[in-house]
């Protein structure tokens, strides 16, 4: 049983208990609800009267149970009636649309223009108090809620292929509605129902409390609270029992509704919270004491780094080196772990992911070496945006839609520099001009949605280079763009490289043409592992891993004699092959490949391949 289903047991059981109690009220050994006993009015709890006696000496417990019966009858009754009316209207409106929609769903929605209690009050006062006017009022009140929910669900289901198919086959609309669509809209209907029962109880008890609902001497919780208010000085407990019963019952129904919702809608189960926001969440990580780096140290040296979610390894023993001024392309299919590797360098991995092994030693501006994988949140924050920057793939989603571009840029500068006013403005405009945004004096006041896709990506890049970082990580910065814009953005990166000679760059991409254009070295990843590494020209001329070779021959521009697709797909992390991870898709695989996982080998001084048969590849 799923956890979300298990959570239904508690509210479900309580609801069942409450319903059983009020249904069984006539056969339970309860005192007469109208049996007065004036001499013992306001008597406290006793063996005969467990919860005491009220202002007429009537038994409180039995009035509580019978009162619940009245409340639930009205609430459930109107919830069911409103469900029938609303579902009919919603189904018709959602299926036929057009004029039908106007007269069903839209007409019902007019009711929503009035505050709910006010509407109920109007109906009840016009028809007089009592159980049935109350049910009518509540039915009218909740019909539009159902109509809306069912309307939305119907429209969704209506567009699905199997319904279209049935329509095409000429099935009668009524049959489609009842047989196909109704079962599909049941889950949201069920959620709505428990919500309406709770809400109807609130209004019913409120009206009864005002003396406009259930008519005495029929017991009702609202009436009991009304009566108890008058006797507050003498018997405060009389107020407590019906209040508890009422609030408890409504709470249970609300709880049932919440849990039904999460049980029926798996999307609602999101990763909770954000660990980075909790001050002491990373206390396992101690601040790292800086160590002086050796003189010829590379900018970044990742060795044997692994990343895992729970106990599932997504990235295994990745090694990668970036020297100052060097651009390393990180290539692979989706799911190969290249983006995760990039995110880990800025400490921006999602909360559920952890660096489980290895190190990523970065040499800072002042010549100290720090292990990025072990840095605490505050330590890595100081590096982020200042020394190590990131350009994300989807600029439209990565820029805050409600802040001006210039403000977002200014904020990035101010995070690391004491600068404000005129000087800051000038810096912002200069940066925007530098990344090729036309008319930066005015454009810095634009919101992200007012820019074109290419300009947004330029703004994103401006954010990343705002503090002249020494390591720039670009995560598929051209993937979401049109081909012509892609070329422009690549040119911009090339320009940035030329302008800032010392800046190292990790360029994450799946596009080999891009690699050839921008990178000095290339690292190929497959299924969470580095399979090949080397200078771009050499790797392209003579790949030493079957996967790299296959990638190259699958690109039209590569000049391969004929295009070949790689058979099969990347294995899922749950289902990794025991031997070489590429073996199932590899044309060179032998028995050894399937039993043993290959170690990194060096075909040349600056080349790495993870293949037993690299000598046979090309």
């Amino acid at each position: 049983m799923k956890a979300s289903t298990r959570k239904l047991i508690l509210p479900g059981t309580i609801v069942a208990l409450i319903v059983a109690t009020v249904i069984l009220a006539p056969v339970l050994p309860l005192q007469d609800t109208r049996g007065m006993d004036i001499p013992h009015r306001f008597a406290g709890p006793s063996a005969a009267h467990w919860l005491g006696q009220d202002e007429f000496g009537r038994d409180v417990l039995s009035r509580l149970i019978w009162g619940g019966r009245a409340s639930l009858f009205i609430a459930v009754g109107s919830a069911v009636l409103a469900a029938i009316a609303g579902t009919t209207l919603g189904l018709l409106g959602g299926y036929f649309r057009g004029v039908v929609e106007l007269f069903t769903v839209r007409a019902a929605e007019i009711i929503l223009c009035l505050p709910p209690l006010l509407l109920a009050l109007l109906v009840v006062t016009i028809l007089g108090a009592g159980t049935w006017p109350l049910i009518l009022a509540l039915t009218i009140l909740y019909t539009p809620n159902y109509a809306r929910v069912v309307y939305a669900a119907t429209q969704q289901v209506r567009g699905l292929d199997f319904v279209t198919a049935q329509r095409a086959m000429g099935t009668h609309p009524l049959k489609i509605l009842v047989r196909t669509i109704l079962p599909n809209v049941l889950p949201p209907l069920l959620v709505q129902m428990s919500l309406v029962v709770a809400s109807a109880m609130v209004i019913e008890s409120g009206l009864s409390f005002l003396g406009l609902g259930v008519v005495p001497p029929t017991p009702s919780w609202g009436l009991m609270i009304r009566a108890a208010r008058g006797a507050m000085e003498v018997a405060p407990l009389l107020l407590v029992w019906p209040s508890l019963a009422l609030a408890g019952t409504i709470l249970t129904f609300n709880l049932l509704c919440d849990r039904l919702q999460s049980a029926l809608d798996p999307r609602a189960v999101t990763a909770g919270g954000a660990l980075w926001l909790r001050p002491r969440s990373r206390e396992a990580k101690k601040p790292v004491t800086p160590v002086a780096a050796p003189a010829e140290a590379p900018l970044l040296e990742i060795s044997d780094m692994s990343i895992a979610v729970h106990d599932m390894e997504l990235v295994r023993r990745v090694s990668l080196t970036v020297r100052p001024g060097e651009t390393v392309a990180l290539v692979g299919e989706s799911g190969s772990g290249k983006t995760l590797t990039g995110l880990a360098m800025t400490g921006l991995l999602p909360d559920t992911l952890r660096v489980t092994g290895g190190s990523a030693v970065y040499t800072t501006r002042d010549g100290t070496a720090v292990d990025l994988a072990k840095l605490d949140e505050e330590g890595i924050r100081k590096l982020r945006g200042d020394e190590i920057s990131m350009v994300f793939q989807d600029a439209a989603a990565s820029l805050n839609p409600v802040l001006r571009i210039g403000d977002q840029l200014g904020e990035a500068i101010q995070a690391h520099h004491q600068i404000s006013g005129e000087a800051l403005q000038k810096r912002i405009v200069d940066l925007l001009r530098h990344v090729g945004i036309p008319d930066p004096e005015r454009r810095h006041r634009a919101y992200p949605h007012e820019l074109s896709g290419g300009q947004r990506q330029r703004a994103m890049i401006a954010l990343a280079v705002a503090n002249s970082p020494r390591l720039l990580i670009a995560d598929e910065p051209t993937t979401a763009l049109d081909p012509t814009i892609q070329a422009q953005i690549l040119q911009l990166f090339a320009q940035l490289k030329k302008d800032t000679p010392g800046m190292g760059m990790i360029f994450v991409t799946h596009d080999l043409a891009v690699v050839a254009e921008i990178a000095d070295r290339v690292t190929v990843m497959y299924a969470g592992e580095v399979v090949e590494e080397g200078p771009v020209a050499e790797v392209f001329a003579r790949p030493r891993h079957p996967y790299t070779a296959a990638l190259i021959s699958s690109v039209p521009e590569s000049g391969a004699e004929r295009l070949t697709a790689i058979p099969g797909t990347v294995p899922s992390p749950r289902n990794m092959p025991t031997g070489c991870r590429f073996a199932p898709r590899c044309g060179f695989a032998t028995a050894e490949c399937e039993s043993r996982s290959p170690k990194a080998e060096h075909p040349a001084a600056d080349r790495v391949t993870r293949c037993f048969r690299w000598e046979n590849v090309t």
């Binding site: 009050l121 209040s243 609030a247 100081k382 982020r384 990565s398 805050n400």
Partner: protein, 318 residues
């Protein structure tokens, strides 16, 4: 932006017209003669001649469409007619009582937003932790407790047992400001409690949603410290749906404070409506319902406009 506001205002005006018409028809088409109702007391039938005279005087003998046109003409000139009961202009009573109801709603909204947004944000940051469970439970509990129950229990505790506050009533601000606020405290607090639950839940959900957004990751990538990320990127963006909900809730409250006003003897607009409906006083009922729906629709308009100002994307989308 201006076009957007103009369009929304037109829709709002149309809605007000629909509501006024419906209420007018509802009250005139149902069986029962207000003149007869006014003149009869208990089980004694009214004198038919007096009823006829009164009907003439009240204009009830004119055809329905004429009554409707007269009514609409009155509404447009700000004349909501005179009360059947005492002949006083309805607009005067509304002008007197509306501010009192608005005062309770406004005070409650301030309390609820001031506490609910930080509380919901905190719960979201600590999602699935102990603090979150406690906050969520209290939100559900106060959402599940009807206002008159809260009101009664609050009176029981603070007026009856602790004797800190008077049990209910109203003193105009001009007469005694201190007493005025003392009396405001319990009704406003009671309304605030359920509103607080709504705001807290909404803030929590909204912050959780925003935390998943890419632009929060960008803000982190810039190296911004926690506080500015939370303030400028998370809470600011998360507030937009919260404010929408607050506006809608306030609109519902304008007609929904009946119970609170009853419990605390607060002489606001809602209580006036109950007695007007009870007496079948057409001009009063129509006047109050119209006031409430105008406010309701107007508030929705304000919410939309504020949304459009907070979220620069909206004005382009429409």
């Amino acid at each position: 932006m201006l076009r957007y506001i103009a369009f929304r205002s037109l829709v709002a005006l149309f809605l007000v017209w629909v509501v006024v018409t419906i209420v007018f028809l509802l009250l005139h088409l149902i069986p029962g003669d207000p003149a007869e109702l006014l003149l009869s007391s208990g089980n004694v039938a009214a004198d038919p001649q007096a009823v006829a005279a009164l009907r003439e005087q009240m204009g009830l003998n004119a055809p329905l469409w004429q009554q409707y046109l007269d009514h609409m003409a009155g509404v447009l000139t700000g004349d909501l007619g005179a009360s059947f009961r005492d002949g006083a202009p309805v607009i005067e009573q509304i002008a007197l009582r509306l501010p009192r109801t608005l005062e309770v709603i406004l005070a409650a909204s301030l309390i609820a937003t001031g506490i609910g947004v930080p509380l919901g944000t905190y719960a979201a940051i600590r999602a699935d932790g102990k603090a979150d469970a406690v906050i969520s439970f209290f939100a559900s509990a106060s959402l599940s407790t009807p206002v008159f129950v809260v009101g009664s229990v609050v009176i029981l505790i603070f007026a009856q047992e602790l004797k800190w506050l008077p049990a209910g009533g109203f003193v105009p601000f001009s007469e005694d400001p201190v007493e005025h606020f003392k009396l405001l405290l319990m009704p406003a607090g009671t309304v605030a409690l359920s509103l607080l639950a709504v705001i807290t839940r909404m803030s929590r959900a909204s912050v959780l949603e925003v935390l998943q957004r890419d632009y929060v990751r960008t803000a982190r990538a810039k190296g911004l410290p926690r506080a500015p990320i939370l303030r400028r990127h998370v809470v600011r963006n998360a507030l937009i749906p919260v404010l929408t909900v607050l506006g809608l809730e306030m609109g519902t409250l304008i007609g929904g404070t009946v119970l609170v006003e009853f419990v605390f003897n607060w002489p606001g607009l809602s209580g006036y409506l109950v007695s007007a409906v009870d007496a079948r006083d057409y001009p009063e009922v129509v006047g109050i319902v119209m006031t409430i729906s105008v406010l309701f629709v107007f508030l929705n308009l304000v919410v939309d406009v504020v949304n459009a100002m907070l979220d620069p994307r909206i004005s382009l989308v429409r």
